[in-house]
């Protein structure tokens, strides 16, 4: 920990690495819930990933996760109106998860060189 204080890069590396792991895992879980059509849990995962994405400043990903959160809550994109058809919500979730994945891939590609495991 003192190490981290003295070595912010190491800390950042560890955080980013953790984030990659976490996001990987989260996306897998999302797929599972999508299979089960478990919108509620998708929303929770969206919120979860949103938090860490925001912490790292990955705003695109954060926005996608927020959408996902809303869709999972059977709301529209902005979270204002209800979506009555759960299938619509599921489709939206699926779409958004894919989008988030792409964005995550981007981030990974950008960040990986900088935070390559030593």
């Amino acid at each position: 920990m003192e190490d981290d204080d003295e070595n912010p890069v190491a800390f950042s590396k560890s955080i980013v690495a953790d984030y990659f792991d976490q996001a990987d895992l989260t996306f897998k879980q999302m797929d599972e819930y999508l299979e089960k059509q478990d919108l509620k849990n998708i929303s929770k995962l969206g919120h979860f990933l949103k938090g860490s994405s925001a912490t790292l400043g990955l705003t695109k990903l954060k926005d996608s996760c927020e959408k996902l959160q809303h869709y999972g809550d059977r709301l529209d994109e902005a979270g204002h109106n209800r979506v009555s058809d759960s299938q619509v919500s599921l489709r939206n979730c699926k779409k958004t998860i894919e989008q988030a994945r792409r964005e995550f891939k981007e981030v990974e590609d950008i960040l990986q060189p900088f935070y390559q495991d030593d």
Binding site: E2, D4, S14, I15, D18, K44, F48, G51, T55
Partner: protein, 714 residues
């Protein structure tokens, strides 16, 4: 001749003695325009010869003639015998007085009753006293016009031109304030504009004289054919000459000089106006928020003084209002003060931009939520931060001002130096000697006892960090020595928060869900909880509610002395029924005050915040958390808790002594340290010795005495 004069005087006296005292007439604002051509000669004289001046005014119009004969002697009988004065039985073609009155310049019209120049306003003004049309036939000569007895010298001078000097002559000049009624001031023939300003201030003694000095006034002369530009009169201009130049035919009422006054020199902000203007919705706290600022404006004008904007003449409202009541004047002030944005921002940015310390921002949102079930710190924080608000962001300077805080906060940092314990929060490093040392030594502060009681989780519970005692030098009170519980399920965020809290060098623990948070809290000793809202198993809101419930049930904080609210709450809310497992261990020692819960809200939605506050959170931080805000919150709430926990710190000393600590010497040493540090703090705190009260003999008394004597003999 003399007899004729006497008869005439008597006649005049009889005729006008029933009228208002003519000598007061010149000061009346409602004046006949016909008088403007008169030159009043009021020089003192021992030989006032009433002089008959032919006048076109008809004697058949008494009221009109009153206007003309304003200088009629009020006490003719007492006047000494007049020297022979030339009665003018016929209207002379050349008016002697008028000629004399303006020797240097073309004379104002001798015959001048410029009826053509009478404005409708004047006509209106004349309607009240008399139906007489303002235009009078100049062909109707009249002989009753008089010269005031005090002008005898002038008359004498007329008779003997060699003795005549200009400054013997008075002259009346029309002036008016913008939008106001014209009035006349009396000036000497050779007075400068500067002197006229003095006269103006005498005339407007109330409305202008109280606020302005003569040099502040500006006189504007309106354009005429002779000088087509309107301009300000320079102070060193000879007024009469200028007037004569501008108005060769004589200055009429309409030609009155306009008196301008500069923008107020020390405009006082009207708090009500600001409050309303700044905040579209007038919150109840606005007045309080602005109060310190308002008082400040007495000394520091809120806006740069010579605001170039408002030329006062443009808006008559200013002139009439400024001088009377500053509040009202500002209420009607058409020019908003330029420092509005500052306040507007302070309201509008509440809680969203880091412009304000958080107690303020929190307060802004709070009123919507009656908070029955939060206990004392909340209540305190609702009230206290107000005066402290400015000081909140820099608590380092505060301890000296607040005695309790000064005793408490710096003292606690002082104690740790006795310990060689560095802050070692994370077990990964595993500093074995440290973890052993810490539980043995009761840490400073009431909550430190948790180290003994809950010593089981000191070693390697995973995130239980013991012994991270703050070792900060005295008065380097960056963050008070508090114990923080971080509740966050997301490991990424948790890592970041851990990093943050490590930098602050306070003790901390973590919990990954609401249930765990509650369990950790039950062990006691936490001052501050940073609570994520969305948590698995038990959400942050639920955990918060549970903690608040347990606080109520166990009468922590305010409820310990107020049983009634507890009963009420119990009756009101069934969930508050104390269950079997609700009793907290060692409540008195471990829970000095309700814990402060700062919600970590993912969204910046107002509703989320309201929900959090309603659940019993004291504050919130929006995620992603940045370090500046994180530090602020921990600091300010930590300071608050450190203040509240002063008793805990003192009790701890008793506790330590009573229980005969294992290493009593160390305990004594620490107690001694504490006393000394308290003494130092007292020295630094001007009010310190008045605040600490203790029934039993306690160590704090000693330093108090010491401090007092030290204060007496610096």
């Amino acid at each position: 001749m003399a007899e004729f004069q006497h008869r005439l005087r008597t006649k005049l006296f009889r005729r006008f003695s029933t009228q208002a005292d003519p000598t007061s007439a010149p000061t009346e604002p409602q004046q006949s325009p016909h008088r403007q051509q008169q030159h009043h000669h009021s020089l003192p004289s021992s030989t006032p010869p009433p002089l008959l001046i032919p006048s076109p005014s008809s004697a058949k119009h008494p009221k009109s003639s009153l206007a003309t004969i304003t200088t009629a002697p009020s006490t003719p009988p007492s006047a000494p015998p007049a020297p022979p004065a030339p009665p003018a039985p016929n209207p002379p073609t050349k008016h002697p007085l008028t000629t004399l009155a303006s020797p240097p310049t073309p004379s104002p019209s001798a015959t001048g009753f410029p009826s053509a120049s009478l404005s409708p306003a004047v006509k209106f003004a004349l309607q009240a006293p008399t139906p007489t049309p303002p235009v009078r036939p100049p062909s109707n000569p009249r002989k009753q016009s008089l010269v005031h007895p005090s002008d005898t010298r002038v008359i004498n001078a007329l008779l003997d031109e060699s003795t005549l000097t200009k400054n013997m002559l008075h002259r009346k000049v029309w002036v008016r304030r913008a939008g106001g009624t014209s009035t006349q001031i009396q000036v000497l023939e050779d007075d400068l504009v500067d002197d006229a300003k003095d006269a103006i201030l005498r005339k407007f003694a109330n409305s202008l004289g109280r606020t302005y000095d003569a040099p502040d006034l500006l006189l504007r002369i309106s354009p005429t054919a002779n000088a087509p530009t309107e301009r300000l009169l320079a102070p060193d201009e000879p007024l009469c000459q200028t007037l004569d130049h501008y108005f060769p035919a004589g200055q009429t009422l309409d030609d009155a000089l306009t008196i301008d006054v500069p923008a107020r020199r020390t405009p006082r902000a009207s708090p009500r106006v600001h409050a309303v203007a700044a905040a579209p919705a007038p919150y109840y706290y606005n007045y309080d928020d602005t109060r310190p600022h308002e008082s400040g404006t007495d000394y520091f004008p809120p806006m740069p003084m010579p605001a170039p904007g408002p030329p006062p003449a443009v808006s008559p409202g200013i002139l009439t209002s400024t001088s009377h009541d500053s509040r009202h004047s500002h209420a009607t002030h058409p020019y908003p003060h330029p420092h509005h944005p500052e306040r507007a921002m302070s309201v509008l940015t509440t809680g969203q931009l880091p412009a304000l310390p958080s107690p303020g921002s929190r307060r802004h949102r709070r009123p919507n939520h009656p908070r029955q079930h939060t206990s004392s710190p909340t209540a305190i924080s609702n009230v206290q931060p107000q005066p402290q608000q400015p000081a909140m962001p820099r608590p380092t300077t505060r301890p000296r001002l607040d005695s309790v805080g000064s005793v408490d906060k710096p003292v606690q940092p002082l104690v740790p130096p006795a310990l060689p314990t560095p802050p070692v929060p994370v077990p990964a490093v595993e500093p074995a000697p440290v973890t052993k040392v810490v539980p043995e030594r009761p840490p400073a502060g009431g909550k430190r006892r948790r180290g003994k009681v809950g010593g089981t989780h000191s070693g390697g519970s995973g995130e239980g960090m013991l012994g991270a005692l703050t070792i900060s030098p005295l008065l380097d009170t960056s963050v008070p020595p508090i114990n923080v519980l971080i509740v966050e399920d997301n490991m990424i965020n948790m890592k970041l928060l851990e990093q943050f809290i490590r930098r602050l060098k306070v003790r901390w623990q973590t919990a990954v869900n609401g249930r765990e948070a509650v369990e950790k809290w039950r062990k006691g000793g936490f001052h501050l909880v940073l609570m994520d809202i969305q948590l698995p198993i038990m959400s942050g809101l639920e955990a918060t509610k549970e903690i608040r419930r347990l606080e109520r049930v166990n009468r922590i904080g305010a409820f310990s002395t107020a049983p009634t609210p507890v009963q009420q709450v119990r009756e009101g809310a069934g969930s508050d029924e104390a269950g079997d497992g609700d009793a907290l261990e060692d409540v008195k020692r471990l829970f000095k005050s309700p814990v402060i819960i700062v919600a970590l809200t993912a969204s910046n939605l107002q509703s989320d915040r309201h929900e959090a506050l309603a659940a019993g959170c004291n504050d919130f931080l929006t995620k992603p958390v940045n370090f500046v805000w994180f530090e602020r919150k921990v600091k300010e709430w930590g300071c608050m808790q450190a203040l509240i926990d002063f008793d805990g710190w003192r009790n701890w000393k008793d506790f330590a002594q009573q229980n005969g600590l294992k290493d009593a010497s160390a305990g004594d040493g620490k107690a001694k340290d504490a006393r000394e540090s308290a003494a130092i703090i007292f020295l630094l705190s001007p009010h310190g010795h008045g605040q600490v009260k203790s029934a039993r003999p306690d160590p704090a008394r000693l330093p108090r005495r010491r401090a007092k004597s030290a204060l007496r003999n610096p």
